[in-house]
């Protein structure tokens, strides 16, 4: 394990933490923490009220997850709150099996099961049912995903393909970010704080009630993040600020119907710098991105009976990004309906239809052009799935497939078979075989981009990426097995093994060079065309465990092992794509501890170890985060967070794909939250 620059202060602090934990754990046993007063009122609810009661517990959701035939992990509101991490991408560090690398202050590389990069394109992310996977390059713009963390109900992470339900692009995983029902965020919340890197942040939310069936909330938030530093300790140009406001309305006119309407608007800026070896004559080394956008989503659920439910959902999303280098506007309209019903005693059928229209306007910058620069694309999809209970409560089989048509690669069929065997309650073995594809992006289909420029005295050389309209989708056939067990009510274990076989992986194939006439000195252009010249296998194991040691002390741990083997086709002349093997860590390890102390104090710590990234020269690192929370009175929360306590700074991701990577510094912040 490489702990760089460990200062004595860090180690002393760690020792204090450890001794404190043991001390308090032993003195906690007979300490009575005041219970929530409303708990004792539960018994006064009538039977029918109790039946309507939404169970908010961790264990409930985990229990659902514990029977699912997939690798599901749930970050609860409490995990998010006590993790002390201030944004969604950072919070994903807490999920065993996720690979989260912060490239600089406003960029992350996030993936699961390999293929990580700034433009990681095999992970689908949904925010309250709205896809935030950008059709432009097929990835997630993490710099505009910043919901109000206090209003999140949970983040569900499915590692492995989810294409049968969620469609193309859910290749290596699906992340569902789910906000609370408006009825669960009643009252006011005001929070604010600041620190060494997160210079200032604040949020205001108010939740109210229109009548017994209708609840709403409105919120606004803002943050400003400081530049990180480069390897020499100098400030880089990567500050980030964003303002966001939004609302959610939940209306339940009758027990059969519920309607949800939500939307938000954001505006902000990120600073970006181009690594020096990328800077061409015409490229600017520094530029500012202006980000604005918004979306609105409506959902209507109607239940015909206990055993039959229909959901309609519609959303519109508008995203703009402008800088001196490039500007883009993307409008997405999506409509989706699905119907779930029980067929006889043993079958639970879900089927659905979807339509998506994407319109974009891409203003060519100095180094990239799109042909055409404005386009409309449509995606039609249908899916059906049957969950058959072969032996009730013991053996369940689920069969299903997605049928999806896109304009670039035509019809894609993505089936899956999953089986779950529960020999005893709280013991589940599961296994799955599934197919998923990553369809060509707008960039791969239509763009031409200069990525390198070497000026020379006699001849200059230019490297261009060139679109390929014949590009096929990347295909995955995934084999998974898993075992989940709760040997005791306070202990749970989860093991997943996977073997993924990929075909038609993306490569860059050199085309015959040409020279640009009329320039002096002449420019030799080497075009690299997108192609499908690679295949490969990845395999790995993900283990996670949770242990509630006492009522006041909960711990969890996770270990991930990943091996990637990529192979170029004999005909391929690509020289770089195979190196992606070295972009994802082979080992990752984490331990988290959530400790309740007397006097309404909380002390939470997390240690993450991430192995080196072989290709990028990024050393393995150990990261220690801590948080102290205090609730002096019921309405007030005060917390102090400390991140990267073990070293002054370290790099988490290398300099790839035209963005300067920087070093993540040790940081501190304080935060106050008041609610009533």
């Amino acid at each position: 394990m490489a702990i760089r620059n460990s200062p004595p202060a860090g180690i002393t602090f760690l020792l204090i933490l450890i001794s404190l934990q043991f001390h308090t754990a032993s003195s906690q046993a007979d300490d009575l923490v005041p219970r929530q007063p409303e708990t004792s009122r539960l018994a006064d609810l009538s039977l029918s009220d109790l039946l309507q009661l939404t169970i908010t517990s961790v264990s409930k959701k985990e229990e659902n997850a514990s029977e699912a035939p997939a690798s599901v992990y749930v970050l609860t509101q409490e995990d998010i709150h006590r993790g002390g991490l201030l944004s969604v991408p950072e919070a994903l560090r807490m999920v065993p099996g996720m690979d989260v690398a912060r490239i600089n202050a406003n960029q992350w590389a996030i993936s699961a099961r390999g293929f990580n990069s700034r433009y990681a394109n095999k992970l689908l992310v949904l925010m309250d049912g709205r896809s935030v996977y950008t059709p432009l390059f097929g990835g997630v713009r993490w710099d505009i995903q910043d919901p109000l963390l206090e209003d999140l109900d949970r983040i569900e992470i499915i590692r492995g393909p989810g294409a049968t339900l969620w469609g193309a692009d859910a290749v290596n995983g699906v992340i569902n970010i789910i906000s609370k029902n408006a009825s669960d965020t009643q009252g006011a919340l005001i929070s604010g704080g600041g620190g060494s890197e997160d210079r200032g942040f604040g949020a205001v939310r108010y939740g109210g009630k229109i009548n017994d069936q209708t609840y709403y909330r409105v919120y606004g938030k803002y943050f400003d993040t400081d530049d990180t530093v480069d390897a020499a300790g100098q400030d880089s140009y990567d500050a980030w600020n964003l303002f966001r406001t939004g609302f959610r309305l939940d209306w339940k006119p009758s027990s059969e119907n519920s309607v949800t309407l939500l939307g938000d608007y954001y505006s902000g800026t990120t600073h970006e710098s181009t690594p020096t070896n990328f800077v061409a004559l015409s490229m600017l080394p520094f530029f500012q991105n202006d980000l604005t956008g918004g979306n609105i989503l409506g959902r209507w659920k109607h239940s015909f009976s206990d055993a039959s439910e229909l959901t309609y959902q519609m959303y519109y999303d508008h995203a703009e990004r402008r800088s001196s280098a490039f500007s883009e506007t993307i409008d997405t309209f999506d409509i989706d309906a699905h119907h779930q019903f029980e067929l006889g005693e043993r079958n639970e059928v879900t089927w659905g239809l979807g339509y998506r229209l994407i319109h974009d306007d891409l203003m060519a910058g100095s180094f990239s052009t799109y042909d055409p620069d404005s386009a409309d694309r449509t995606v039609f999809s249908a899916f059906a799935q049957d969950e058959i209970s072969i032996v009730p409560d013991r053996l369940r089989l689920s069969l299903g497939s997605k049928f999806e048509h896109n304009q670039y690669s035509g019809l894609e069929i993505q089936p899956a078979a999953r089986i779950a065997f529960t020999p005893r309650p709280k013991h589940t073995f599961w296994s799955a075989i599934s197919r998923a594809v990553r369809t060509p992006s707008r960039f791969e289909n239509d763009a031409r981009q200069t990525i390198l420029f070497f000026p020379g005295a006699d001849v200059s050389t230019r490297l261009d990426l060139v679109y390929n309209r014949e590009l096929r989708p990347e295909e995955l056939l995934a084999y998974e097995v898993g075992y989940r067990v709760m040997p005791r009510p306070d202990v749970s274990l989860d093991l997943a093994l996977f073997y993924n076989v990929y075909n038609n992986l993306g490569t860059f194939e050199p085309l015959p060079a040409s020279s640009l006439s009329g320039s002096r000195p002449p420019v030799l252009i080497i075009p690299l065309q997108f192609d499908n010249g690679m295949n490969g296998e990845t395999f790995g194991a993900e283990v996670s465990a949770k242990w509630q040691i006492t009522d006041h002390w909960r711990t969890s741990a996770g270990y991930t092992w990943l091996k990637m083997q990529l192979h170029l086709d004999p005909s391929s002349l690509d020289t770089t794509s195979e190196l992606a093997e070295g972009d994802s860590p082979q080992h990752q390890f984490q331990v988290r501890s959530l400790l309740d102390l007397p006097w309404n104090l909380q002390f939470d710590t997390a240690v993450y170890y991430v192995d080196r990234l072989a290709r990028q020269g990024v050393a393995g690192y150990t990261r220690l985060d801590a948080r102290v929370g205090w609730r002096p009175v019921k309405n007030l929360d005060v917390s102090v967070g400390m991140q990267n306590l073990l070293d002054d700074r370290h790099s988490e991701f290398g300099q790839l794909q035209g963005v300067a990577s920087t070093e993540i510094q040790r940081s501190f912040y304080g935060k106050v939250t008041w609610r009533y």
């Binding site: 539960l42 009661l53 009510p489």
Partner: protein, 193 residues
């Protein structure tokens, strides 16, 4: 290009929100939320109100209703917190935790955690002739001769009742309870017990 526009927007929204506060009433009544076992504890209490035990079940008018928890207890202190000093049918509650099937005899309500179901048949033999309201957590439990299942469905709990088992235990379940419950029958395999 956009300059400091975000900051202006922040303040205008902040202003609107403040305005909103002053208009809105201070009713921030929070809805009750519960963990799975807090809810199950409340159910155990409520169930007692909707079940008639034979008169001979209790020693005298002051005898408490004993809730037994078999094996590893998933409630922690929730059961005590939720029920508190409440009474049902003018009887107080007593909570008994045990792990030997033969100790099941003194209970009027008996909770079998899902993790203990494999020992259910042993327990059932001990209480076969007694009026014990058995409560479990899975539909398998109800099919195997249990009386009531508190079964998670999506993010709520549902009640499943086995009327044959209730009848065999000489318990009368109120129609109010049956009105909100699903009914399930004993499966052949369970019948032999």
């Amino acid at each position: 290009m956009k300059g400091r526009k975000p900051m202006e927007t922040v303040w205008s929204v902040f202003y609107c929100v403040c305005l909103f506060f002053s208009c809105a009433t201070t009713q921030g009544a929070e809805r009750i939320s519960a963990t799975e076992y807090q809810a199950k504890a409340a159910f155990l209490y409520q169930l007692a109100k909707f079940v008639e035990w034979p008169v001979a079940t209790f020693l005298d008018a002051d005898s408490p209703i004993t809730i037994g928890i078999f094996g590893t207890d998933p409630f922690g202190s929730d059961l005590e917190t939720v029920i508190g000093e409440r009474t049902a049918k003018r009887r107080r509650f007593r909570i008994k935790r045990f792990s030997e099937p033969r100790e099941a005899k003194g209970c009027q309500i008996l909770f079998i955690p899902a993790g203990e179901e494999r020992r259910w048949n042993e327990v059932l033999q001990e209480i076969a002739a007694l009026s014990v309201l058995t409560v479990g957590e899975t539909s398998r439990f109800v099919s195997a001769g249990g009386i009531i299942g508190l079964i998670p469905a999506k993010n709520r709990l549902s009640i499943t009742v086995n009327l044959q088992s209730a009848e065999r235990a000489h318990l009368i379940l109120s129609s109010q309870l049956l009105g909100v419950s699903k009914v399930r029958e004993t499966r052949q395999a369970g019948e032999k017990n």
